[in-house]
């Protein structure tokens, strides 16, 4: 069973995963037994009752009440078991414990923002403490997204006009992948994030130091890190490749043509505006799809990104 | 019943794949009823949108319906019910072989249908002038609710699609008049009149619900 689990399912790293997996295996095993039975019957019948001559006479067997009731009632009982099992699991999945630690999640095309109660915002990196229930309150900035951590067996759509939530309790200190599973456009399949599970102390240390850890870093170096951490590089390359947005290479002080024909020099003000109000001016040949980073990047961080862009000549 | 005289009747209308006139008539009528089922569910979708939004924002519907003129809504209801009556009379005329009566009743129906559309036109243009338009160009400030545009979107979709059905109905009636003048219909064959009548009554029934749901929210 363990080897089958390893093959069929990702590692179970939350408190609720095991009950989901148990039902998964129950349905699998029951189905395989029934499917084998049906397949053997098909093959056996087609050999045993193969046509021997064109004058074969077949018996008139039009119905058999006992048999028919049996094969209606047994499946009914089986599916009701599955329903009840799935139902109780679901109730568990939608009922977070009262003491759950709350994190706000914002989905934007195409990145995940995680807001913590301290005001700290991390992009595409979810940090959570181990062995403590965590409740995510989620919303979207633009279209539908869906937040999915396979290792925790949790998933919930993220909507622009409402809050949705999910909860989990991580059981081991490790990293897990986070996917967007509601189709959301060009870079849908790049909208990945990572869940980092820390021990309670490490988590608190991280939370305290998160905002200030990069104080003493070289601005350009910090900028490079921010570009990765905030998923800018999903759409903007640093080597001249054309992705969803214009490349950063050679951007500094270049003359850019906008959609309305206006020509703008990519100076500090322009880049700042592009980060905070990305749809104010759109480069010719590109779509207005970038989300705003107002609130998730502070002035110092924006300066650092500009310093980094300057290095990409 | 009608079989006794069927040998003397004209049978040009009978398609070769039907056994007799009755089978053809019954099939056409059943077909029309099946079509009406699709119409009911087509409008049903809009009613679902209406009910869901009304359940969410009852106060919006209260406020916004004040922009609609219940008096003209009532007049239009009378007009449509009147046209239903004349269609029923037209069918009766056809059944009794009174072709003149059939044509007159159809003309009255067309007249009433046009009256309905004219009133609708004035209602719409009065709202357009105020900036109550369907969609994102909505600019009227008079309804103090942030979702006022949605009420009017639903209003325009419902009455607009209903109006489209009225226009199609007018076209069908004119076609019937032309056919009637060519002496196509008689007491043994009036299937198109009957099924157009069914269609017209359904258009009436839908309005019977639209009127209180949109205009009469107090």
């Amino acid at each position: 069973m363990n080897r089958l689990t390893e093959f069929m399912l990702p590692p179970a790293k939350s408190t609720t995963a095991e009950s989901t997996d148990a039902l998964f295996h129950f349905i699998n095993v029951t189905s395989i037994i029934l499917l084998l039975g049906i397949t053997v019957a098909i093959i056996y019948f087609s050999w045993k009752y193969r046509r021997r001559s064109d004058d074969d006479v077949t018996p008139v067997i039009a119905h058999n009440s006992k048999l028919e009731i049996t094969w209606s009632v047994i499946p009914l009982i089986l599916v009701m078991i599955v329903f009840g099992w799935g139902f109780t699991g679901y109730i568990n999945l939608i009922t977070p414990p009262d003491d759950a630690y709350e994190i706000r999640v914002v989905g934007k095309s195409w990145l995940w923002e995680f807001h913590y109660e301290t005001g700290h915002v991390s992009v595409n990196e979810l940090h959570v403490p181990v062995n403590r229930p965590v409740k995510l309150i989620m919303s979207s900035d633009d279209v539908l997204h869906s937040f999915y951590i396979p290792d925790y067996r949790v998933k919930m759509d993220v909507l622009p006009n409402r809050y949705t939530s999910l909860w989990f309790e991580a059981t081991e200190i490790s990293e897990s992948v986070i996917y967007c599973t509601e189709y959301c456009g060009t870079a849908h399949s790049n909208m990945l994030a990572t869940a980092h599970v820390h021990s309670q102390e490490d988590f608190e240390t991280w939370l305290e130091s998160a905002g200030s850890a990069d104080d003493d870093m070289d601005p350009a170096e910090l900028g490079e890190q921010l570009v990765t951490r905030n998923a800018c590089n999903t759409c903007h390359s640093s080597d001249g490749t054309r992705l969803i947005g214009p490349t950063f290479q050679g951007l500094w002080m270049a003359e850019r043509t906008m959609q309305d024909g206006e020509v703008v020099v990519a100076d500090e003000n322009y880049i700042r505006e592009s980060i905070l109000e990305p749809n104010a001016r759109i480069n010719e040949g590109y779509d207005p799809v970038m989300p705003s980073y107002a609130g998730s990047l502070n002035d110092r961080q924006i300066d650092a990104i500009i310093e980094y862009i300057k290095t990409l000549q | 019943m009608s079989q006794t005289s069927s040998t003397e009747e004209k049978l040009d209308h009978l398609k070769h794949y039907f056994v007799d006139s009755d089978q053809q008539f019954e099939a056409s009528k059943l077909g029309m009823w099946v079509f009406l089922v699709t119409e009911i569910l087509f409008f049903g979708g809009l009613f679902v949108a209406y009910i869901v939004y009304r359940a969410w924002y009852p106060e919006l519907f209260l406020l916004a319906s004040e922009e609609l003129d219940a008096f003209w809504g009532m007049v239009n209801t009378f007009v449509l019910i009147g046209s239903s009556l004349t269609v029923a009379m037209a069918i009766r005329s056809a059944q009794l072989n009174q072709i003149r009566g059939l044509i007159i009743n159809l003309w009255i129906t067309i007249g009433l249908a046009i009256t309905f559309m004219v009133i609708k036109y004035f209602e719409y243009s009065e709202k357009f002038a105020k900036g109550i338009v369907p969609g994102s160009a909505y600019s009227y400030e008079g309804v103090a609710h942030e979702k006022a545009n949605i009420f009017f979107s639903i209003y325009y979709m419902m009455t607009g699609l209903h109006g489209l059905h009225v226009i199609i109905g007018i076209g069908l009636m004119i076609w019937l008049v032309i056919k009637a003048k060519k002496k196509v219909f008689h007491s043994g064959y009036y299937t198109p009149v009957e099924i157009t009548g069914l269609y017209w009554h359904l258009v009436d029934v839908i309005w019977i619900f639209l009127f209180p749901l949109l205009y009469l929210i107090d």
Binding site: Y163 | E26, V37, G45, V52, L213
Partner: protein, 100 residues
């Protein structure tokens, strides 16, 4: 044949007058105050009666084959199913509220 019912002119006029009266009634009840959801209930009830009269006597369902009636009923039933089940969602949503 069930499909060939011929109504008298007097009967058709009678039906129309009842419909006119009910239309007037549905407007008139808005002049008096009916509390809560009951104003909607009354409006829909009158409209339903009118729709039944039209379908029974103008559309001849009263004299028609049972299957045509079944079709009509079925379309209403499926509409009610659609709205009923959709309301199971839209009326019972409980959205969480972020605490910060």
């Amino acid at each position: 044949m069930s499909g060939h019912h011929i109504s008298s002119a007097r009967f058709l006029w009678g039906v129309a007058i009842v419909l006119f009266f009910l239309t007037f009634l549905t407007v008139a009840v808005t002049w008096i105050y009916i509390p809560g959801p009951w104003n909607v209930v009354v409006a829909i009830a009158i409209a339903t009666v009118k729709a039944l009269i039209v379908s029974a006597f103008f559309m001849n369902l009263y004299w028609d084959s049972k299957f045509n009636i079944l079709l009509f009923v079925m379309s209403i039933a499926f509409f009610l199913l659609m709205i009923g089940i959709t309301l199971l969602d839209t009326l019972f949503r409980v959205d969480p509220i972020p605490s910060f």
